[in-house]
């Protein structure tokens, strides 16, 4: 039952013909392989979404530029947003969750392995359907076109009158299909975490990552459904002449906004909570201390989960709701900042008094902390509705949410990549290249997204393919675009590092970071069955107990 015996039983698979190997990957129901498939899929779309962003920034580098047409630009921001949320962020977070949850709870696989595979392939197919629009968007009438209605596809711009052809339908159907995949994945997460924990692992003894993925999974069930429902309604409008959002027949454009944002706001918490999970696992290990305030972290996350369903109309402060409705959403939005802030303090408390090691995962976690702090504070600014009446729908908002998603979530993801890459691949990555990636990306990120706040303050709205010179926006747009190059180079270094290290990196062994959760007791990569015998645990850090038998955690928790 010791960790060494598990290590000895792990074998590298003998090399097989390529066809067999591909077949085994395509038909796999193993949570680890599906996790890796999700992650690879997301990295591919990260690059594609990044190219879309680069096209936009090149168009905006100077005023009245002619790099792309307005039609192309409008497709770029629509596809960039849709891709990044649905085909990068959701898959990569489901991927990490799929990989890690069974390992961390001492299970052999997820609760429903075939549902797991079905969910992945559905998500993948949804993405392909969306991208098919580039060639198939206008049906038979000419060159195809991707959707250009914005990632939130406000009615009535999406009605047949204003969006002729099928580009909007690709948006609707691609997301509908991948939405079912997301619900399937979420069902799996919740069922696995509730039903497959190893003996001794009560809810209060699960790693925080598992807790946070439980909250995220439960949220997904309630979050994706409003979008699915709204998209069904939109499709009924477009195909069967229904009138849900048909303002000429008395329908309401605002109803779409409500339905979309009831999905859209909790969705961003669905995206950020797994990033919190990564950071909550990595910071303790590289501070050599347990997470500060575990019960409060759990409570804060559950609180965020609930309150996040009550803030959605802060995306609608400008649509003319009355002052009482506006005030209600001001207070709920500000209140959701409280548990979020508590989490930042707890991470700080974890680092405090520790022995910090600045390996690449920790560098990204620290970047996360600084940047998520700023993102949260600009969020508080936007929560003050009159301030939002100026800043809303401007580049200030674009800067804010990229600060959260790139500065927060993506940094958390990079930390997770570097931290668990040795476990997944069996090899160590190159630390120097990892550090280089970090610094280049920090420079690029701040060049782009710090300065992006300024045009917003100076009145530049979002989703414009060009802008007037002389409004004070020129210099800032230029700087913002320059930052993109740094980020692009950093991403190339990241991908190169992982690819190279997968084949040529030093062997990692079971536990390169001296970690404390169950995944570090298996070999790297783990065998298909994960654990030779299902472990029995007595505390939140089972490996700490093993490594410190004279001073185990369960005496103090």
């Amino acid at each position: 039952m010791s960790s060494e015996s598990i290590a000895l039983t792990a074998v590298r698979e003998p090399s097989r013909p390529l066809g067999d190997a591909l077949y085994s990957w395509v038909t796999t129901v193993d949570h680890k392989r599906l996790g890796i498939l999700y992650i690879l899929y997301a990295i591919l779309f990260l690059v594609i979404g990044g190219i879309e962003a680069s096209v936009m920034r090149l168009q905006l580098i100077v005023p009245h530029n002619h790099f792309v047409s307005p039609q192309t630009f409008n497709r770029m921001f629509t596809m960039h947003g849709t891709t990044m949320v649905f085909f990068v962020a959701m898959p990569v977070l489901f991927g990490f969750g799929n990989y890690l949850i069974p390992l961390m709870i001492g299970a052999r696989d997820m609760a429903f392995p075939r549902l797991n595979a079905w969910s992945f392939w559905l998500t993948a197919f949804g993405g392909l359907l969306l991208y098919f629009s580039f060639v198939g968007g206008n049906g038979l009438y000419g060159a195809g076109s991707a959707p250009d209605v914005g990632w939130f596809a406000y009615a009535p711009l999406t009605a047949k009158t204003f969006s002729v052809g099928h580009s909007t339908d690709f948006w609707t159907l691609g997301l509908l299909v991948s939405g079912f995949g997301s619900i399937g994945a979420a069902v799996n997460f919740v069922a696995t975490i509730v039903c497959l924990r190893c003996p001794g692992m009560s809810l209060g003894k699960m790693p925080l990552l598992v807790w946070l993925n439980l909250v995220m999974g439960a949220m997904v069930l309630l979050v994706i459904s409003p979008l699915t429902a709204a998209q069904v309604m939109l499709s009924l409008d477009r195909f069967l002449g229904a009138h849900f959002f048909d303002t000429q027949a008395g329908g309401s454009a605002v109803l779409w906004m409500h339905f979309f944002w009831i999905f859209g706001h909790p969705e961003v918490y669905v995206l950020v909570i797994p990033a919190f999970a990564f950071v909550s696992e990595i910071i303790p290990v590289f501070s050599r201390k347990p997470i500060f305030g575990y019960p409060v972290m759990v409570a804060a996350t559950v609180c965020i989960g609930f309150v996040s369903f009550g803030v959605w109309a802060h995306h609608m402060f400008t649509i003319g709701m009355n002052s009482y409705a506006n005030s209600f959403f001001v207070i709920t939005t500000m209140v959701v900042g409280v548990p979020t802030g508590i989490k930042i303090f707890n991470w700080l408390g974890t680092m405090w008094g520790g022995k910090l090691q600045f390996k690449t995962p920790m560098l990204f976690c620290i970047g996360f902390l600084f940047q998520f702090l700023v993102a949260g504070l600009t969020g508080i600014m936007l929560a003050a509705a009159p301030f939002d009446w100026q800043l809303g729908n401007s580049y200030f908002v674009v800067a804010h949410f990229h600060y959260v998603i790139v500065g927060g979530i993506l940094f958390g993801l990079f930390a997770a990549f570097y931290y668990w890459f040795p476990k997944m691949s069996g090899h160590l990555y190159n630390e120097k290249l990892g550090t280089l990636h970090f610094w280049l990306f920090v420079i690029g990120f701040h060049l782009t997204f710090d300065f992006m706040h300024i045009p917003g303050i100076l009145g530049m709205p979002r989703r414009i393919y060009t802008y007037e010179p002389g409004r004070g926006w020129d210099l800032w747009n230029f700087i913002v675009t320059i930052g993109v190059f740094f980020q692009a180079v950093a991403i190339l270094i990241f991908v190169g590092n992982l690819l190279y290290s997968m084949f040529k990196g030093k062997l990692a062994g079971n536990d390169p970071w001296d970690g404390w959760t169950l995944e570090w007791s298996t070999s790297s990569p783990p065998p298909e069955y994960n654990f030779a015998r299902i472990p029995v645990v007595r505390s939140r850090r089972p490996l700490w107990d093993l490594k410190h038998p004279e001073d185990p955690d369960w005496k103090y928790e």
Binding site: S69, P70, N74, D148, V149, Y154, P156, L157, F162, Q248, A253, S287, R288, K289, P290, G293, V296, T318, I319, G320, V330, I331, M334, G337, V338, G341, I342, N346, W352, G353, Q357, F358, I366, F370, L373, L377, T378, I380, M381, A383, A384, P386, F387, D388, W389, Q390, G392, S394, E431, T435, I457, L458, G459, P461, R462, T466, Y467, G472, L475, E557
Partner: protein, 361 residues
């Protein structure tokens, strides 16, 4: 348990520390860049729609609230930032290696209470400050001297009607400056003819959306004369980017003169009769209105006093002879995707129509 990791070396800390020390400096640098730029921009204040240079009552109360929120968030930032920087520097792993793990602290209820209660108090303060401004702006009562305007959003231009004054124009709004002795704010009712738009002139007020099948309203109360720019702030289709706005704030006398001129029917001169005939016989009249003639289309802007505007195509081009000709001949060259079709007139007809339009002062 030994924590052995030979890849960590001291030289690795130098850039780390350097940047940590530099980050406050970096922020100061950015802040000073911004303020220098703002000072420079002051010379052309009306062209830079800076929300922190308000010239109207609602924008001013928003600015006051914004500064209050900024100060509080900046304080929070400074405190947490400093703690983070301190933690990174003080608690980094150092030699000599004693091989021991640091004290394993699981939490502290007092700290949790402290950093829950303080943020809740901050939230309450912010909320009350915010709610006050929301109410003062949204529940303002129009005083007797109010100018009423109805703004109708179209793809991709603005229709402005003054119901009380019988004036119809497009894209460039004229309003009187208001003073506290005799208040003359402008209340704007917001409608849409097609999709969602948003009315945003940052120096005069926050933005409010124009949504079909819904009536919204907003108000401005500018104090200083001048021209203030803005544009549509809700994605409305291909040419959302060039749905620009201008608001000319004038003295009371100038405004009255402007209204009087706008109420006149279109000028009619024999010299441009040929152009007028072409206008009235081609598809122009389907979309455009010119009062005093048979043209009464509502799809496009009212052209009765076209020459009173400094720009055409909702700000996409200045109102010059060449641009006017180009716009009629090939709108896509100025605003690709605009709903004005290319009129396919012969050169001679084009010149005639342009001359006619240029007579519409």
């Amino acid at each position: 348990m030994q924590v052995r990791d030979s890849s960590i070396s001291y030289t690795r800390w130098a850039p780390q520390v350097l940047v940590c020390r530099c980050w406050p400096a970096a922020f100061l640098l950015a802040a000073s860049l911004f303020s220098v730029h703002s000072c420079f921009a002051f010379a052309q204040a009306s062209r830079v729609p800076d929300i922190f240079k308000p010239a109207s009552t609602p924008a001013e109360s928003i600015q006051r609230l914004s500064l209050f929120v900024l100060v509080i968030t900046a304080l929070i930032f400074v405190v947490v930032f400093s703690l983070l920087v301190y933690a990174i520097r003080k608690f980094r792993y150092r030699a000599p290696e004693d091989g021991l793990e640091p004290p394993q602290v699981y939490g502290s209820n007092q700290m949790e209470l402290a950093w829950t209660v303080v943020p809740v108090l901050i939230v309450l303060v912010l909320f009350f400050a915010t709610a006050r401004v929301i109410h003062s702006i949204q529940q303002a009562v129009p005083p007797p001297g109010t100018i009423q305007v109805t703004a109708i959003g179209h793809q991709f231009w603005w229709e402005f009607r003054y119901p009380g004054l019988g004036v119809v124009t497009a894209n460039e709004l004229h309003v009187p400056a208001s003073n506290s002795a005799q208040r003359t704010p402008t209340f704007v009712t917001l409608l849409s003819a097609d999709t969602d738009h948003s009315f945003w002139v940052p120096q005069l007020a926050g933005k409010t959306d124009l949504i079909p099948n819904r009536v919204n309203s907003m108000w401005i109360e500018p104090h200083e004369t001048g021209m203030y720019v803005g544009q549509c702030a809700q994605y409305c289709g291909t040419q959302h980017a060039k749905m620009l706005l201008r608001i000319y704030v004038e003295s009371r006398e100038q405004f009255n003169q402007w209204v009087a001129a706008q109420k006149q029917p279109a000028h009619s001169a024999d010299a441009v009769a040929a152009g007028r005939r072409i206008f009235e016989k081609t598809a122009c009249v389907n979309c455009h209105a010119i009062s005093g003639t048979i043209a009464d289309g509502r799809f496009g802007p009212d052209l009765t006093h076209l020459m009173g505007r400094e720009t055409i195509a909702a700000g996409a081009a200045t109102n010059t002879h060449e641009n006017l000709k180009l716009w009629i001949h090939n709108p896509d060259s100025i605003k690709p995707g605009a709903l004005m079709p290319a009129m396919n007139l012969s050169n001679q007809d084009l010149e005639a129509v342009t001359a006619y339009l240029e007579s519409l002062r």
